[in-house]
């Protein structure tokens, strides 16, 4: 059996898991498993993962990081993305309630400051309640709104503005700071991939987007960590780039995960990335 199919089968066998092989079941890995399994043709296990997310939903519509930890609830965006990908009709009610919650929360804003490079007045989403908006949770909600048919919602539009504002002048992004006390900060692969994945058809005219894609493609290397590789591949694939370079690396990562009982999180991310980079293997 080909590696990609083996990886899908391993996830389909047990679609609930966490960030570590023996770690607690967590919402983000389960959401990525649902998306990856659906696109790999494993409808039943994908549906099981989505039902677990729906059963984990709180009364206010949010989905916490794990069932025992309902806060913070940044995985709500990924649950929306999973439900809309797998079966939007069947999960219409959880989607609607999660969207209501997602649109009711926002990161803390503040006026622009001389010693900070980004515009902290832009509305986005935070990791935890009553804190500033950062790049990854905003990316997840922007992509979720897009998937749910709300790409033109004012929050989605402002979220995309925030994402472009947080790109570094020479490309790439980190957790969401660009400059501090006059120094340009370092780019990281994972958040750069995630923000490109969230902006597949928008704002591509900004030169920082092209520079970020160039930087991401140059970052693809055999020693890249698994989650960073997967998100870089997803971000590049969303813009029709990088498959020839990323796919062999993803297949090698898949083999390693299968051999070493890799976590659901990493296996699901690699499968999702492989699904987005068509080819042999």
């Amino acid at each position: 059996m080909r590696v990609q199919q083996q990886l899908a089968a391993s996830i389909a066998k047990r679609p609930l898991g966490g960030y570590a092989a023996e770690g607690p079941v967590a919402s983000e890995p389960v959401a990525w498993a649902a998306v990856a399994l659906h696109r790999a043709g494993h409808a039943g296990p994908a549906d099981s993962a989505c039902r677990w997310l729906a059963e984990s939903q709180s009364a206010d519509g949010s989905v916490g990081v794990t069932r025992s930890e309902p806060a913070p609830a940044w995985p709500t965006a990924l649950a929306i993305y999973a439900w809309t990908t797998v079966a939007p009709g069947r999960f219409a009610d959880p989607i609607a309630r999660a969207l209501d919650w997602g649109l009711s929360v926002q990161g803390e804003t503040m006026p622009r400051r001389d010693n900070i490079g980004h515009d902290p007045s832009l509305l986005g989403w935070s990791w935890a309640a009553a804190t500033h908006a950062w790049l990854e949770p905003t990316s997840f909600f922007v992509r979720a709104l897009d998937a749910a048919g709300h790409a033109n919602h004012p929050r989605a539009q402002q979220g995309r503005r925030l994402l472009v504002d947080r790109l570094l002048p020479e490309g790439g992004a980190n957790y969401g700071n660009t400059m501090v006390l006059g120094q340009t900060l370092l780019p990281h692969v994972q958040p750069s991939g995630i923000v490109m994945w969230a902006l597949p058809t928008h704002d591509a005219a900004d030169p920082r987007v092209g520079k970020t894609l160039d930087w991401l493609e140059a970052s693809l290397a055999p020693d890249l960590a698994t989650a960073s590789l997967a998100f870089a591949s997803l971000g590049l694939a969303a813009h029709g780039r990088g498959a020839a370079k990323s796919r062999p690396l993803l297949l090698t990562a898949a083999q390693s995960l299968l051999a070493n009982n890799g976590s659901l999180y990493r296996r699901a991310l690699v499968l999702a990335a492989l699904n987005s980079t068509p080819g042999e293997g």
Partner: protein, 341 residues
């Protein structure tokens, strides 16, 4: 050394996670206060150190010189916490050197401790990336030292014993709650907001990103000095082993310049170790707010109440450059030194 209360050595249920650690934190906090009232706190400084030298012996000497009882370590779970905040191969002086981590593990294992390494990088959600970029992954693999990704482990809540911020409690990951001893293993660096980052502030990295975010913005919104002191006051028993060999000055903790010092610092009071590091760096520890707060519970900053073992700090002092910013300028104990922009 005061031994902490015994912890659950088997499976950890939720009730244990929620209730078990209060006594640990209490023992650690009260122990330090009592100790500070009775006698000076020892801090060990070794000079002329190299990453390819016998660091395990230096560390063992430092632990013995500052009162650690090897017999107490036998069978204990010890969690080494390096600083891997945002690793980059281009800036190795940003993160704790792998040789320091392996040497500490070797020293503690020789006394029978069960050693693991844990980290919850504050700026990096891909912990595997942090391990690879810092060179720590390879070192841990070679030395067969287990690693715990503190960002994503099961968590347990503990009452905030510091109460310097308004946080009622703090979530700690399982590996922290199960540890008998946490060894803070920072890199000695300047910090562009708070002046110095060393053993006490390094404990930000034991808190799980899955609860606090990347960066751990929940803590920032409750005050960096206050929450640093809260975490140090609420964590299980802690000691410090500082990588002061290749240090960072200027725009630390990420983008500063390399400053070679060749030092290793060891001690059981994190604020007292940091106070010594700050003095070596040319900064006045009593003006660093989080140290001032943490010292109320965890050990003195006053030079007269810190007993220097090994090299006297004055003999190795070499002021670090700090950014030309008003909030940093006021921290310098040597204002005649040049600032950097």
């Amino acid at each position: 050394m005061q031994a902490p209360a015994p912890t659950n050595s088997g499976g950890l249920d939720r009730r244990t996670l929620l209730l078990g650690g209060a006594s640990l934190a209490g023992a650690a906090g009260l122990g330090a206060v009592a100790q500070s009232l009775i006698k000076p706190t020892p801090v060990f400084v070794a000079a002329g150190q190299r990453y390819d030298g016998p660091l395990h012996q230096t560390i063992a000497d430092g632990l013995l010189a500052t009162g650690l009882d090897p017999a107490w370590l036998r069978g204990r779970r010890v969690l080494l916490k390096p600083n891997l905040v945002e690793p980059s191969r281009r800036i190795p002086h940003m993160t704790t050197h792998p040789a320091m981590i392996v040497a500490a593990a070797e020293a503690l294992r020789r006394w029978g401790a069960r050693v693991s390494v844990g980290e919850a990088p504050g700026h990096v959600r891909d912990t595997e990336m942090a391990l690879v970029e810092s060179g720590v992954a390879e070192a841990l693999r070679d030395a067969r030292i287990p690693f715990a990704d503190l960002n994503y482990e099961e968590v347990g809540w503990r009452r905030n014993r510091g109460r310097f911020s308004k946080l009622p409690g703090i979530y700690f990951p399982r590996s922290v709650l199960e540890a008998d001893l946490i060894v803070s293993m920072p890199k000695m660096k300047t910090h562009h907001w708070v002046g110095v980052t060393c053993a006490t502030k390094n404990l930000y990295g034991i808190l799980p990103g899955i609860k606090y975010g990347w960066p751990k913005n929940v803590l920032h919104h409750h005050g960096i000095p206050q929450t640093v002191a809260d975490i140090a006051s609420s964590a299980p028993k802690t000691i410090a082993i500082v990588d002061g060999i290749d240090c960072m000055e200027g725009d630390g903790p990420i983008l500063g310049s390399l400053k070679h010092m060749g030092l290793v610092l060891v001690g059981q009071s994190l604020p007292s170790v940091d106070a010594t590091a700050a003095r070596i760096m040319g900064l006045e520890p009593t003006r660093i707010e989080y140290l001032h707060l943490a010292s109320r519970r965890l050990g003195p900053l006053d030079d007269r109440r810190i007993e220097q073992r090994g090299e006297p700090w004055r003999s190795v002092a070499d002021p670090f450059q700090v950014l030309d910013e008003p909030h940093l300028e006021c921290l310098r104990s040597t204002p005649e030194e040049r600032l950097v922009t």
